[in-house]
Amino acid sequence: MIAQAIFYVLAVLTVGSSAIVAFSRNIVRSTFALLGAFMGVVGIYVLLAADFVAMIQLLVYVGGILVLTLFAVMLTQGIADVTISNRAVGRLPALIISAVAAGIMIFAVFRTPWRQSARIIVAPTTYGIGNAFLGPYALPFELASIVLLAALIGAVVISRPLDRGVSNRLSNEE
């Protein structure tokens, strides 16, 4: 029962925050609500016995992505312009589509015989995950490093202004 209560609290947090993210017309408010959503999800992760993942979520999402997003919003938005007249062309149809999609999928969720194992193990996972990364998931793990490398380099290249040195180099060669 306690677990259930915790679940519902977390669910309300997650869904509520997500709803604000989705529905708020203020992008800054959405960004802050995103924090709530992430935190709720972290709780859910814990509830799902994924301690390591929850930790990473906390670190990467809350500590990284969210900050980054906030930074970007602030940078491009300007706090002054909070009253945004979003035309919201597709809000109602979008709502309908999302609702219908959710409806169908919830229907499907209840009809589907999901694979469920008889025994549910709740135990720390860090060790197992570490093994997995070095064993069967070694290739994805290594690949991920390349992805990150490429992403970092790309981000740097794209966001770096065309500096004088490069310009000179270009004009010299042409």
């Binding site: 229907f107 069967p136 070694a138 490398l149």
Partner: protein, 494 residues
């Protein structure tokens, strides 16, 4: 045969070479000032990869504990992707646009994309599929937005990114359901699980497939997941456009095929495939296929920018290739694979000519081609005509042979409506494919538009592709045999 991580490495040399080259390029960029080195190195790495791929052959093994599979099918796409990379690198070296960019990073990311495509073709696991697809996507966003101070380029990159993000998000959501039903990520395990499960899960599987299709379909730019393509193709540097159009699309088809065929279908005794557990994705894809080619063609009719025209054309071409995909037979898949080769040859050629003209005139509009044949640009004009006729599917070109096999597969599978739609589309497509030809040959040049000349290496590649278009249109026997031989999936353990 399933190899562990260390033993797998010996089969993984091309990928390793690519990875090494990526690292080397990044390092070199910090040290060496001469910008031509990067291109040369990338070229060397791609050629080496090609040779290694050929030398490695296909060995029907699972590598890295079943993460990737190394079968004939993978070999085919490795080859095709390497060729696409070579063309992209070659064009990059000759491109005026690209010359203004940071060279080391550019080629490093280009080769990363190439690596990602390799893995897409080899993926035997949902996680690998997702990872490799993301690698390709991320690098593609970056490459698209690579042009500094080019609003089009960056806008395209943003669109591409947002679209790709949503697509991959929905895809992994769909994958999660497949995981929930099958209890594993391995394609073999999924196949086994789906074979045993009854029809109770078919709705969930169908929804999951639709969601996954959003992620994979956007790589091949099939309707309704095609919207990014025109903008991105127009905005990206032309070599990248080419790379996306031929390489990324081929990799997308590889992944699509590997997932939809060996993973969630099974090969019946009569040589035709059947979808597992009553999931009717074939009908879904049939409709998508027909809409894709029709919409692509119709939208292309009104384009005035060559890149954009070719972008819509490539959507339509993807629709044609999907014809082979939806007929549920090895004939169809073989035709699709053959068509991808054909598409590679002719589309890369067309983009190359567009680049040559853009290099010379700075324009990509069809108007820039006015009277091209009569103002000293006869060679590129003829080459472009060949490529465009091939894209239309006129005989004596490889495009015709490709379509021939596609239609043959459709007719054989008794998909008459599909064949008819394809036929009508071929005719419609003639109209816009002929427009540039008309502009080049039938219109007189006006004003002071100068002659179009290009460097020898661009002409060389163009000539090679044009020759390939014709030669493969006349003698394609070995190629179709190769496509047929390559159509062997090494299916995972039950």
């Amino acid at each position: 045969m399933q190899l562990d991580n260390v033993a797998s490495l010996s089969h993984f040399i091309p990928e390793l070479v690519l990875s090494g080259a990526i690292v080397l390029l990044i390092l070199l960029d910090l040290i060496i000032v001469n910008r031509r080195v990067a291109g040369a190195l990338a070229m060397a790495a791609s050629v080496a990869t090609l040779l290694l791929v050929i030398a490695g052959g296909a060995s029907n093994t699972w590598l890295f504990n079943g993460m990737v599979v190394f079968d004939s099918f993978a070999f085919f796409f490795r080859l095709l992707i390497t060729l696409a990379t070579i063309v992209a690198v070659w064009m990059s070296i000759g491109s005026v646009e690209v010359r203004r960019c940071e060279q080391g990073e550019y080629y490093a990311i280009l080769l990363s994309a190439s690596l990602g495509m390799f893995l897409m073709a080899e993926a035997n696991n949902l996680l690998m599929a997702y990872l490799s697809l993301e690698l390709v996507s991320l690098t593609s966003y970056i490459l698209t937005g690579f042009l500094k101070h080019n609003r089009r380029s960056q806008e395209a990159a943003l669109k591409y990114l947002i679209y790709g993000g949503v697509a991959s998000g929905t895809m992994i959501y769909g994958m999660s359901w497949i995981f929930g039903i099958a209890g594993g990520l391995d394609f073999g395990a999924i196949n086994a699980a789906l074979s045993q499960s009854g029809t109770g899960s078919s709705l969930a599987v169908f929804i999951a497939l639709v969601l996954i299709l959003a992620g994979m379909g956007y790589k091949v730019a099939s309707v309704p997941f095609h919207m990014w393509a025109p903008d991105v193709y127009t905005g990206a540097p032309i070599p990248i456009t080419t790379f996306l159009a031929v390489g990324s699309k081929a990799a997308g088809f590889a992944l699509l095929t590997r997932f939809f065929y060996p993973a969630i279908s099974h090969l019946a005794a009569d040589g035709n495939w059947q979808a597992l557990s009553g999931v009717d994705w074939p009908q879904l894809l049939l409709v998508i296929c027909m809409i894709t080619m029709t919409l692509g063609n119709l939208a292309a009719l009104q384009q005035n920018n060559m890149k954009r025209l070719l972008a819509y054309s490539s959507i339509a071409q993807a629709g044609y290739a999907l014809m082979g995909f939806v007929v549920l037979s090895n004939d169809g898949l073989r035709a699709m694979m053959f068509y991808l080769i054909a598409y590679y040859v002719m589309d890369a050629g067309a983009f190359l000519v567009v680049m040559i003209v853009a290099n010379a005139t700075g324009h990509e509009d069809i108007d820039a081609y006015r009277g091209l044949a009569w103002r000293g640009g006869l060679v590129p004009a003829v080459a472009l005509a060949i490529f465009l006729f091939s894209l239309t599917g006129i005989p004596l070109t490889v495009g015709f042979i490709g379509k021939f096999y596609l239609f043959a597969a459709a007719i054989r599978g008794q998909f008459y409506i599909l064949a008819l739609v394809g036929i009508i589309n071929s005719v419609i497509s003639l109209y816009y494919y002929v427009r540039p030809i008309r502009t080049m040959f039938l219109d007189e040049p006006e004003g002071d538009e100068g002659a179009v000349t290009a460097e020898a290496w661009n002409y060389g590649l163009m000539g090679a592709l044009a020759a390939a278009t014709i030669v493969l249109g006349l003698y394609w026997g070995p190629l179709i045999d190769f496509a047929g031989r390559s159509l062997k999936f090494f299916i995972g353990p039950a």
